[in-house]
């Protein structure tokens, strides 16, 4: 009972603290007021890094008065957006949980003279309703990875393809390039193609299943780092070498620090970046707008790298690891 109450009290405090910060109507002190709506930072390592970079960028030292709101639900995010409009923020930065339902609130924002910048995710709305959108191109991530793989010049590509949650943007983008390559080239085969739903355990089982069946393979194409790690665990248990000079090429995505460390150690071969650092791009756009410049590029595609085990350095790990 006491515990329950304590939890309740904590929850209430947390809410009221948020409410205060959201409503803080500061006088004009020269700071640019921004309202940032993001997904829950606990969602993934990517999101954590994304949120961290936003928090580091939008500080008072950098000339911002920023308020943050988090939710994985579209309707809650829209409610937060309305709140920010009432608070008369100058800029509204949104990483939308869902693609639809934003028209009304964005119109309200426009009428109130608030500039909207989308980051990380796009929405289905007229592009006049926002000034810019800074997004990752998942298909491009896939293309980069697959062309890297093609450059390895193997005689035959027998790929275990471990997919993310089916239908997610990252899965569609990262699967697309590989599917196309396999369809077009006779020496590219999929040994198996299954979803591990971003889960390391499932990936381990999928690879284990292929090993148990005795089929040969020389590439593991996992659509995120966790699944690549699970796959490697299965390889280790079966004493199948991987990484630089190994029998199996291991590929992952997202550039977690620990994954890049594996790359640096030569255990994995490739890791594709999914850039969570939109903060600097947004900052640049806001600075331009404040300076009265026109924004020419409405859609900004983030620069995303692919790291190979042969060329990665400790500096890369420190800079790009999330």
């Amino acid at each position: 009972m006491k515990k329950f109450l304590a939890l309740l009290v904590t929850a209430c405090l947390a809410f009221s603290a948020f409410a205060c910060s959201a409503k803080k109507a500061e006088d004009d002190n020269g700071l640019i007021k921004v309202g940032i709506i993001n997904n829950d930072p606990n969602e993934s390592g990517y999101r954590t890094a994304n949120d961290k970079s936003m928090k580091e960028m939008f500080t008072e030292e950098n000339g911002y008065d920023a308020s943050f709101a988090y939710s994985l639900k579209n309707d809650e995010q829209i409610a937060y957006a309305q709140q920010f409009i009432q608070d008369e923020v100058d800029y509204l930065l949104i990483s939308a949980a869902g693609t639809s339902g934003w028209d009304t609130v964005l119109k309200d924002a426009k009428d109130a003279g608030i500039q909207v910048i989308l980051f990380d995710r796009t929405i289905d709305a007229d592009d006049s309703l926002y000034v810019a959108s800074i997004v990752s191109d998942m298909a491009k991530e896939g293309d980069t990875a697959v062309s890297w793989l093609a450059d390895q010049g193997l005689d035959e590509y027998n790929v275990i393809h471990i997919q993310g949650v089916m239908g997610s943007a990252a899965q569609i983008g990262r699967s697309g390039a590989l599917d196309k390559k396999v369809a077009d080239n006779a020496n590219w085969n999929l040994v198996t193609q299954q979803t591990a739903e971003w889960n390391a355990d499932n990936a381990q089982q999928i690879v284990q299943s292929v090993i148990d069946s005795g089929e040969s393979f020389n590439v593991i194409y996992a659509e995120n780092d966790d699944m690549a790690k699970g796959a490697v665990a299965a390889l280790d248990a079966a004493n199948i070498s991987h990484g630089i000079g190994g029998d199996v090429i291991v590929m992952g995505f997202d550039c977690n620090s620990w994954a890049l460390a594996e790359l640096l150690a030569g255990n994995w071969n490739y890791d594709g970046q999914c850039n969570p650092f939109q903060a600097s791009y947004i900052d640049a756009i806001i600075k331009d707008l404040e300076a009265g410049k026109e924004i020419t590029e409405k859609v900004v595609i983030l620069e995303e790298k692919g790291f190979s085990a042969d060329s990665i350095t400790q500096a890369d790990v420190d800079q790009y690891g999330i």
Binding site: M1, F4, N42, E197, S209, G214
Partner: protein
């Protein structure tokens, strides 16, 4: 004369079948048999077990059966706790996946700043066990004393658990590189059987002993069937329910340890995702009523192995990613329908007809 004997034999065989169909154990055994037969016909190599070495040069067994025994471990352990909770409270704890994330997070939090020694690992596990049991007790108190429906009560942690897990490690993803830590989820050097199997076996042995040397089984069944009558026989129904939730909490801690040890890190949002549904399914496949009351622990454990058997079979036959849940759903529907009392009644009636017919023919 000889003929008579033989018909009698066939009659008694059919009678045995009739009797068997009414046994609770029948459904899980039948399901397992079907899965085994299916694999045997499709590809007998499914049952091959090979002794090889892993990348450290230690001997390990491999093969689909080993994969099943290995990966079913978490589910087996959870099924134990879930069976008790189901029996006593007539409902299920849907927060186990989230609390596994919490338990795993606690273990990593403690170990990432300390050298990986046996003492430290034990300490980390004990803390995780206490934390999990407290969360179990939280669920239990809501269910037993505030009389909230189990599914609603545990919805709180189901929703909040993964955030709590992330918060415990300040949203960072600790990775433990010491190979010793991976022993719990993989292999101990020199022992070719995966450790999770042993952990599950130990849990099964412990619960068997607990059921044998305490009255937990009788009490939780009595409370689940008739709380009012139990109270008048001196049992405190609320306390019994609470205890089952705390036991489930302990199971969760063990699973948390295996999960984080398997990959030496954690992903708060996907670790043990949807495992609560599989755990509940294991209980149901075991022929236990999800409405509480009578339970058969061995059946639940069998249910857990069946689910893993099914998963591994589907992986082996490379069912398309998008179709995987559908296949699983179909098999589950069949099993659950078969284990429904109405259907079993019908089945035994059918067998009866067959028996009497064959008896008539013999006459």
């Amino acid at each position: 004369m000889t003929q008579k004997v033989s018909t009698k034999k066939s009659g008694s065989f059919l009678e045995t079948v009739v009797a068997l169909t009414r046994k609770q154990f029948f459904i899980p055994i039948a399901a397992l048999t079907i899965l085994v037969l299916f694999n045997l016909i499709m590809d007998p190599s499914f049952f091959a077990i090979k002794l090889g070495t892993n990348s450290n040069g230690d001997p390990v067994l491999s093969g689909y059966l080993i994969t099943i025994l290995n990966n079913a471990s978490e589910l087996v352990i959870l099924a134990i706790g879930m069976t008790l909770v189901t029996s006593a409270s007539g409902g299920q704890d849907i927060s186990v996946g989230s609390t596994i994330a919490i338990a795993g997070s606690v273990i990593l939090r403690i170990l990432c700043n300390r050298p990986i020694t046996v003492a430290n690992m034990l300490f980390a596990f004990l803390v995780a066990a206490i934390v999990s049991m407290i969360f179990g007790a939280f669920n239990g108190v809501l269910v037993a004393y505030f009389k909230i429906q189990p599914m609603i009560a545990t919805l709180i942690l189901f929703t909040a658990g993964r955030s709590i897990a992330a918060w415990i490690n300040n949203n960072t993803l600790p990775v433990i590189n010491d190979p010793t830590f991976a022993y719990f989820g993989n292999f101990i050097p020199g022992i070719p059987v995966p450790t999770p199997f042993f952990i599950a076996a130990i849990c099964v042995i412990i619960i068997t002993l607990v059921l044998k040397f305490t009255t937990l089984g009788l009490y939780s069944q009595a409370v689940g069937i008739n709380p009012s009558s139990s109270r008048l026989n001196g049992i405190d129904p609320a306390k019994v329910k609470l205890i089952t939730y705390i036991i489930l909490g302990l199971c969760v801690a063990v699973v948390g340890l295996i999960k984080v040890s398997r990959i030496s890190t954690i992903n708060y949002s996907v670790v043990a995702k949807d495992i609560e549904m599989d755990a509940i399914l294991a209980v149901a496949l075991g022929g236990n009523s999800l409405g509480g009351g009578k339970f058969n622990m061995a059946s639940s454990i069998m249910g857990a192995y069946i689910i893993q058997f099914l998963t591994t079979t589907l992986f082996k036959f490379k069912v398309e990613s998008t179709a995987l849940p559908a296949y699983k759903a179909i098999v589950v529907i069949i099993l659950v329908v078969l284990s429904a009392p109405v259907v079993r009644e019908k089945m035994s009636a059918f067998w009866k007809k067959v028996t009497s017919k064959s008896a008539k023919e013999a006459a």
